[in-house]
C-alpha cells in the first residue's frame, strides 16, 4: 500500500512574550497508508492539532519532512489540495449564511461543482436543515457542517480533527457509520479524537502522541496486543488456596476480593488444569484484555487518579525507556 501521509521528524516550537518557548511537536513521525482509517490519539496539548495544522500548511514547521498524497507539504500541497478534505478543530462559519450557502461558497472557491453541496449535506444528515442560518445551528450541527465541508471535494484523503465534538450519541454513531462507509469506498481517513472507544470501533490503525512525540503506532489490535499481559480473572470457591497452588505451579496469582488475577499463563487451560487436579473447580476464567483507553492512559502517563495539567512535563510511559512502540516497524530503542 502506498503512503498517503508521511511525517518524519516533525518539530514545532511556539514562542511567545508571555509564555516563552514551548515545544509543541518534538520529532514526531506518522505514516498513514492508503485505505486506512487511522486514529490519531493524544491528551490535550500533546501536539495533535499542531501536527495536523503543520501538515496542512497552516503552521510552519521548524524542521521535519511531510508529504500528502505523495507531494511534499506544504510546498506542493496545492497540487493535491483538491483531493484532501480536512477540518481542523471546530471550524467557525459565517453565522448569517445558511448551511447551503456556506458550502456553496467553499465549493465555488475550490472549483467544486455546486451540485456536490446537496450530496455533502445529505451525507452528514443536514439535508433538511441546509436552508437555516448557521448561527441557529447547534454545536453538533455545526460539526456536521464542518464535516460536510470536508466531504465537498469528494476527497481521497479525509483529515478530521475531533469530528465528534458536540455530537450527541446518535450523532457520534452516525459519524462512525459515515467514516466506515467512506473507508469502504476507498477513502483514507485520519481522525483525531478523545473518544477512545470510538477510535477502537472505527479505526484499523492508530498513532498515539504524547508530549509531541509518537509513543505508539500500528494496527489497533497489534498495539493492544503489545500491552496484553496475559492476565486472567479466575473465580473459585477458595481463592487463597488457589493462589498458593498457582504460585507452586510458577504462575503469579494475586487475590482480589473473591477472585484471583493470574498472570504469566500463556494458555488458560494451564490454570484450570492446576486447580482442577487439586479439586478446586473454576467458576469463571476470563482473559483480561487491554482496551485502547488503558493503553492510552499507560502510554501518555495520564492516570485518572492523579490530577494532571495539560502542560505537565512528565515523560510518557514509552519515552521513559526512550523506546517507541511501532508495530509496523518493530520496536525502536
Amino acid at each position: 500500500m502506498s503512503a498517503v501521509i508521511e511525517i518524519e521528524g516533525l518539530r514545532k516550537t511556539f514562542h511567545s512574550m508571555r509564555n516563552g518557548r514551548r515545544v509543541a511537536v518534538d520529532g514526531f513521525d506518522l505514516l498513514v497508508e492508503e485505505g486506512q482509517v487511522h486514529g490519531f490519539l493524544g491528551p490535550n496539548g500533546s501536539g495533535k492539532t499542531t501536527t495536523l495544522r503543520a501538515l496542512l500548511g497552516l503552521v510552519r514547521a521548524d524542521s521535519g519532512r511531510m508529504s500528502v498524497l505523495g507531494q511534499p507539504s506544504p510546498e506542493l500541497l496545492p497540487r493535491v489540495a483538491g483531493q484532501v478534505g480536512a477540518i481542523v478543530e471546530s471550524p467557525q462559519f459565517f453565522g448569517n449564511f445558511t448551511g447551503y450557502r456556506t458550502l456553496r461558497l467553499l465549493a465555488r472557491a475550490g472549483g467544486v461543482p455546486v451540485s456536490r453541496v446537496d450530496e455533502a449535506l445529505d451525507l452528514v444528515g443536514l439535508r433538511d436543515r441546509g436552508d437555516e442560518r448557521v448561527k441557529a445551528y447547534s454545536l453538533g450541527m455545526k460539526q456536521r457542517l464542518a464535516v460536510a465541508s470536508a466531504l465537498l471535494k469528494d476527497p481521497r484523503l479525509l483529515i478530521l480533527d475531533e469530528p465528534a465534538n458536540g455530537l450527541d450519541p446518535a450523532g457520534i454513531r452516525e459519524m462512525r457509520d459515515l467514516m466506515r462507509s467512506l473507508a469502504a469506498t476507498g477513502v483514507t481517513v485520519l481522525v483525531s479524537s478523545h473518544i477512545l472507544g470510538e477510535i477502537q470501533l472505527i479505526c484499523d490503525h492508530v498513532t498515539i502522541i504524547s508530549q509531541g512525540r509518537r509513543v505508539a503506532s500500528g494496527r489497533v489490535d497489534e498495539v493492544l496486543a503489545g500491552y496484553d499481559r496475559h492476565e486472567f480473572l479466575v473465580r473459585v470457591a477458595d481463592p487463597q488456596r488457589a493462589a498458593e497452588l498457582l504460585d507452586a505451579a510458577e504462575l503469579t496469582a494475586v487475590v482480589d476480593g473473591e477472585a484471583l488475577v493470574v498472570s504469566g499463563a500463556s494458555d488458560p487451560t494451564v490454570i484450570s488444569r492446576v486447580l482442577g487436579e487439586q479439586g478446586l473447580w473454576v467458576g469463571e476464567l476470563t482473559p483480561l484484555r487491554p482496551d485502547l483507553e488503558s493503553v492510552f492512559l499507560e502510554l501518555t502517563g495520564a492516570h485518572p487518579s492523579v490530577p494532571r495539567q495539560v502542560d505537565d512535563s512528565a515523560l510518557p510511559y514509552a519515552a521513559q525507556g526512550d523506546a517507541v512502540i511501532d508495530l509496523d516497524r518493530g520496536v525502536d530503542a
Binding site: R53, Q92, R108, A109
Partner: protein
Amino acid sequence: MNLVRAELERLAARRFVQLMVVLLAFAFAVTAATTLAGSHKPSASELNSARQQATEARQSMETAFQECVARRDGAQPTEDGGSFLPDDCSQIDPVLQDRLPIAADFLPGVFSFAQQARPLLFFLIAFLVLFGFLVGASYIGADLNSGGVVNLLLWRPRRLTVLATKLGTLLGTVLVLALLASVAYLATFWVIGQTAGLAGQLSGEFWRELGAVHGRGLVLVLLATAVGFAIATLGRHTSAALGALAAYVVVWELGARLVLEIVDAPQSDLFMLTSHVGAWLNGEARFYDEQICRGGDIGFNCQGFYTLSWLPSLLVLLGITGGLTAAAFAVFRRRDLI
C-alpha cells in the same frame, strides 16, 4: 475567478458592510432632504437684486484696492477713512483672490450647486474614506479572527493568492461603490440645484476641477481601504486597525504636533499625515510657520506661509500604504494560523 466570486459574495453578505452602506444612504438622504427643504428657486427680482449686490461688492473691492495702491504710492494720505487697508495691497487685489463675489453669495436660502458641489463632495469623500478603512479592516480582521481564512486555506492553500484576492476584491468593490455613490450623490444635488435652487456657473473648468477632486478622493478612499486591510492583517483583528488609527491620531497628530510646536520644529505640518491628505485632496495645502520669516534676508513682507503640493503628498501616502501592505503580505505568508 471562482475565488473572486466567492469573496465578492462573502463581502456583500457581511453585516458590517451592509450597515455602512445603509449609513451612507441615510447620510445621503438626510443631506439631500435638508438641502431640498432649505432651498427654493429664486425669483427674478431676487436674482436681479443678488446680481446687483454682487456687482457692488466687486466694485467695492476694486475701489479698496485702488485706494490701497494710491496710499502706497503716496498719492493719498495714510488715513484710510475708517476702512482697513493692509500694508500689502496684493492681499486685497481682486485679481489675486480665489474667487470674487457672485450673485449666489447674496441669495440666502437658495442652494447653489456650483458653490456647494465641492464641499459636498469633500463630505462624501470623508465618509467613503471612513467606510473603506472600516470595511477593509473588518473584512480581513473578522475572517482571521473567526477562522474563515483557515477554512479558505484548506481549500486553496496558497496564502498570497488568497490574501491578494481578498484585497483585490475589496478594493474593486469599494471603488465601484464609491464611484456609484459619488455619481448618484452629485447628480442628486445637481437636480436639486436645477429644480429647487441655482445651478450656478457650471463651466468646463468647474467640471474639470470637480472631476479632479473626485478622482483624488477616490484614490484616497482606496488608500484608506488598503491601510485598514493591512493593519488588521498585521494585527489579526479588526480592532488592531481601529486601535492603530486612534493611537496615531492621539499620539502623533495631537501629541507630537504639540511637542513639535513647543520645540519650534520647522514646518512641522509636513510630518502630519493629515497635511498630506489635505494637500492631495485639494491639489496643494498652505501652512503657516513663523520661523520662515526669522531669516535675515526674507524681507519685510514675509507672510510665513509655505506650500505642500500634491505630488510629494501622494508619494508619502503611497509609500505608507505600500509599506503597510507589503508588510501585511510578508507577515501573512509566514504566520502560524492557529
